[in-house]
C-alpha cells in the first residue's frame, strides 16, 4: 500500500487509481467538514462531489503534492461557501425556536450558534469550524488555510470573542 505522499504524487501525475484511493481515504472526513458548513446530507454530498471534480481537474497543477489533503480541504471549504451563497431559503416564517423539551426539536442555543457563525467573517468562521467541529490542530488548520500558525491562533481568539458578542443570554442574535 502506497504512502499518502506517494499516492498524492501519483494522483498529481494523473493516476486515477491513486487519486481515487487518496480521496476515498479522506472522504468521510471531507463529508464531515461539508456537513459542518451546510447542515444537511444532500448538500454535503454535493459539495463533496463538486470538490472531487475541481480537485481532479486541477491536481496536475499542484506544486506540492505533499500538501494534497490540506489543499483538498481548502477546495471543499470554497465549495461550501459557494453553496451557502447560492442557497436561498424561502421559508416565509422565521425559524421558531422551540421552548419545548422534545428530543427532535432544535435547541435555542444551537440555532443561535449556527446563526452567529453564519454571520461571522469567513476567516473567523473557518478556524472555529475546523478547530471545534473537526478537532483539527492549529498546525493542520494553518496548512489548510495556508496561513501562519500565529494567524490561526489570533483568529481563534477573535472568533470566540465575536461569538460571545453575538450571542446574548436568552438567545437574541445580532447581525455583524
Amino acid at each position: 500500500m502506497l504512502e499518502t505522499k506517494e499516492l498524492a504524487a501519483a494522483a498529481c501525475r494523473g493516476d486515477e487509481e491513486a487519486f481515487y484511493a487518496l480521496v476515498t481515504e479522506h472522504r468521510r472526513r471531507l463529508y464531515g467538514i461539508a456537513y459542518s458548513y451546510l447542515h444537511n446530507e444532500s448538500d454535503a454530498l454535493e459539495a463533496l462531489q463538486e470538490t472531487v471534480c475541481r480537485a481532479w481537474m486541477k491536481c496536475r497543477k499542484l506544486k506540492h503534492p505533499e500538501a494534497f489533503v490540506p489543499w483538498l480541504i481548502r477546495i471543499l471549504i470554497n465549495c461550501c461557501v459557494d453553496e451557502q451563497k447560492r442557497k436561498k431559503r424561502m421559508v416565509p416564517v422565521e425559524e421558531v425556536r422551540s421552548r419545548e423539551t422534545a428530543a427532535e426539536m432544535v435547541s435555542d442555543s444551537k440555532l443561535d450558534l449556527e446563526r452567529a457563525l453564519s454571520r461571522m467573517k469567513p476567516k473567523y468562521r473557518h478556524v472555529l469550524i475546523l478547530k471545534y467541529y473537526q478537532d483539527m490542530t492549529i498546525s493542520d488548520i494553518a496548512h489548510i488555510l495556508d496561513v501562519p500558525e500565529g494567524t490561526v491562533k489570533t483568529r481563534l481568539h477573535q472568533g470566540l470573542k465575536l461569538l460571545r458578542q453575538k450571542i446574548e443570554p436568552g438567545g437574541a442574535v445580532f447581525h455583524v
Binding site: Y20, R28, G32, Q49, L163, R164
Partner: protein, 465 residues
C-alpha cells in the same frame, strides 16, 4: 476565558460527528466517483476546445457551440447521484399516470420476484416489488382455474415463517371478482406503521375464496385458500437510493405550530415526518393543501400526498406519504402548503334537540338536522369541492339534557355515513347516521366531534433539496 462558547462549539462537534457517522459508504463512494467522472468529462471538453481554437481561430465559437450541444459542453449540468437501478422494466402491468411507479420502472427499480404458489384452483405469482423506507408496492398475478368466480379477500404481510402480523396498512386489496380462467394482474400498496421500516424478509399471504355476494364485503369466507410467498428484499439497492434529509423547521400560524422533522427520499415515495406540538391551543390535524413541487429539466412537477398517518387527539407524530420522482434528479424539491387544518376544540360540540328537530349548537352553520326516526338520528351537510374539505366525525359517547352519559347503539349500526354527489356542481351531500339505543332521552343531546373541517390559511414553502 471563553469556556461557555467553547462548550457550545464542542456540543456542535458531537452533533456533527453523529451526522457524519450515519452517512453510508455507498453514498460517499457515489459522490466521489461522480465527481471524478464529471472532472474527466470537463477536462476532455476543455482539451478539445483548446485544440480547435489553436487550429481554426475563426471557427472557435462555432466549435464551442458544437461541443456544448454534443458532449455536455463547457459548463456541464451538475451531474447528480446514480439514478439507474439494476433491474429490467416490469412488463404487463398498467401503471397508468402514477408518477412514482412509472419513474421507478423506467429507472430499473422494481425488483423482480417471479415466484408462484398454487393451492387448489388458484395460482398466485408475485411478479415484483418496489420498496422504499416505509412503503412497498406489490405487483402480482392471480390465475383462477376454477369453474366459478374467485374473490381475492385480502393480502397480508407477516414476519417470514410465522403467523405474526407486522404493523402496516394496505390499500386496494380485497373484494376483487376474478372470472373463471382469468389471469388477473393487480398491485397493492403497503405503508408500514410509524417508525417501522420494510423488513428484509417477509411472507406475503394472498387469501382467495369462491366469490359470493353474501361474503363479498367480508374480509374472510368459507372455503378460502391462503397462498403464502416468501420475499427477500434487495436492501442494498433500497438503501443505495434512499436518503434522509433533516429539515428541523417549525411552521407557525399565529400561535399554532407544526414541526417538520425530516424527509426520507426513495424511488418508492417521499416520506415527510412531522410532529404536532401538544402545546397548540387549536386542534391542528395537518397541513392544508400540501404537496411537493419538483423541478425536472426546467419543468415543475407536482407530487401529491396519497396518504398519511395522523396524530392523536392531543397532537404527536404525523407522517405524509408523497409520490416520488427522485430518479429524474430534480433540481429542487419544495414542500408547499396553504395553511394548517385546524379547528377550535372548544367549538367541537354538536348539540341537537330531537324533539324540536333542530341543531342548537355546531361549529358553523353548515350542519343541518335531517331526521330522527326509529332512534336513528341523521345530520346532513354539503361537502363542496371548493370548501375546505375535511371529515366530520362524531364520538360514540354523548350526554343527555340531564348530564347523563350514553353510548350509541353499535348493534344497530353505530355511526355511519353516506354521500350523494353531483358531478355538475361538485357538491356532495353527506348524511351522518347516528343510531341510538331505544329510550327517551332528556333533551338536548350533546355530541362531541372528533374531527371537523377548518383551516388557518397561510402559504408555506420549505425547500427540501
Amino acid at each position: 476565558m471563553y469556556e461557555k462558547e467553547e462548550r457550545m462549539l464542542n456540543e456542535m462537534n458531537r452533533d456533527a460527528g453523529i451526522y457524519t457517522a450515519v452517512v453510508s459508504d455507498e453514498a460517499l463512494d457515489a459522490a466521489v466517483r461522480s465527481g471524478m467522472r464529471r472532472g474527466r468529462r470537463m477536462q476532455r471538453s476543455r482539451k478539445r476546445i483548446a485544440a480547435y481554437s489553436a487550429m481554426i481561430a475563426t471557427v472557435a465559437a462555432a466549435m464551442l457551440f458544437v461541443v456544448w450541444g454534443g458532449d455536455g459542453g463547457i459548463v456541464e449540468p451538475k451531474e447528480q447521484m446514480a439514478a439507474q437501478g439494476p433491474y429490467p422494466p416490469l412488463t404487463g402491468f398498467d401503471l397508468g399516470e402514477n408518477i412514482t411507479l412509472n419513474t421507478a420502472n423506467q429507472h430499473g427499480m422494481i425488483q423482480p420476484v417471479n415466484q408462484s404458489v398454487t393451492r387448489g384452483d388458484y395460482t398466485v405469482t408475485l411478479n415484483g416489488i418496489l420498496v422504499g423506507s416505509q412503503q412497498m408496492e406489490v405487483f402480482y398475478t392471480i390465475q383462477n382455474d376454477a369453474e366459478y368466480h374467485a374473490d381475492l379477500k385480502r393480502v397480508e404481510m407477516k414476519r417470514k415463517g410465522s403467523s405474526q402480523s407486522l404493523p402496516y396498512s394496505i390499500g386496494s386489496s380485497g373484494g376483487t371478482r376474478i372470472k373463471p380462467g382469468q389471469t388477473f394482474r393487480t398491485r397493492s400498496d403497503i405503508h408500514m406503521g410509524e417508525n417501522q421500516a420494510v423488513p428484509e424478509e417477509m411472507t406475503l399471504s394472498f387469501s382467495i375464496a369462491p366469490y359470493s355476494t353474501n361474503t363479498v364485503h367480508q374480509s374472510s369466507a368459507e372455503g378460502e385458500q391462503v397462498l403464502d410467498i416468501d420475499v427477500s428484499v434487495d436492501m442494498e439497492t433500497v438503501q443505495k437510493f434512499t436518503r434522509t434529509i433533516p429539515l428541523n423547521k417549525m411552521l407557525q400560524i399565529e400561535s399554532q405550530r407544526f414541526y417538520l422533522k425530516e424527509a426520507v427520499l426513495s424511488p418508492a415515495g417521499i416520506v415527510l415526518k412531522a410532529n404536532i406540538p401538544s402545546s397548540n391551543t387549536m386542534k391542528v390535524s395537518g397541513l392544508w393543501d400540501v404537496y411537493l413541487e419538483t423541478v425536472v429539466n426546467g419543468k415543475q412537477v407536482r407530487l401529491n400526498s396519497d396518504s398519511a398517518f395522523l396524530p392523536g387527539a392531543g397532537g404527536g407524530d404525523m407522517t405524509y406519504f408523497f409520490d416520488s420522482n427522485i430518479l429524474e434528479n430534480p433540481k429542487s424539491i419544495t414542500l408547499k402548503a396553504s395553511g394548517f387544518q385546524a379547528v377550535d376544540p372548544s367549538e367541537m360540540k354538536l348539540v341537537i334537540d330531537t324533539d324540536k328537530k333542530e341543531i342548537l349548537r355546531a361549529p358553523d352553520g353548515d350542519l343541518r338536522f335531517g331526521a330522527y326516526t326509529g332512534h336513528t338520528l341523521t345530520v346532513e351537510y354539503e361537502e363542496r369541492a371548493d370548501r375546505h374539505m375535511g371529515s366530520v366525525s362524531i364520538e360514540p359517547e354523548f350526554v343527555d339534557g340531564e348530564g347523563k352519559k350514553h353510548t350509541i347503539n353499535e348493534d344497530a349500526g353505530g355511526l355511519s355515513s353516506s354521500s350523494r354527489s353531483s358531478s355538475d356542481t361538485g357538491i356532495s351531500l353527506i348524511t351522518q347516521y347516528i343510531h341510538l339505543k331505544p329510550g327517551d332521552y332528556p333533551q338536548p343531546l350533546t355530541f362531541t366531534l372528533s374531527s371537523y373541517p377548518g383551516v388557518m390559511e397561510q402559504a408555506f414553502e420549505v425547500p427540501i433539496r
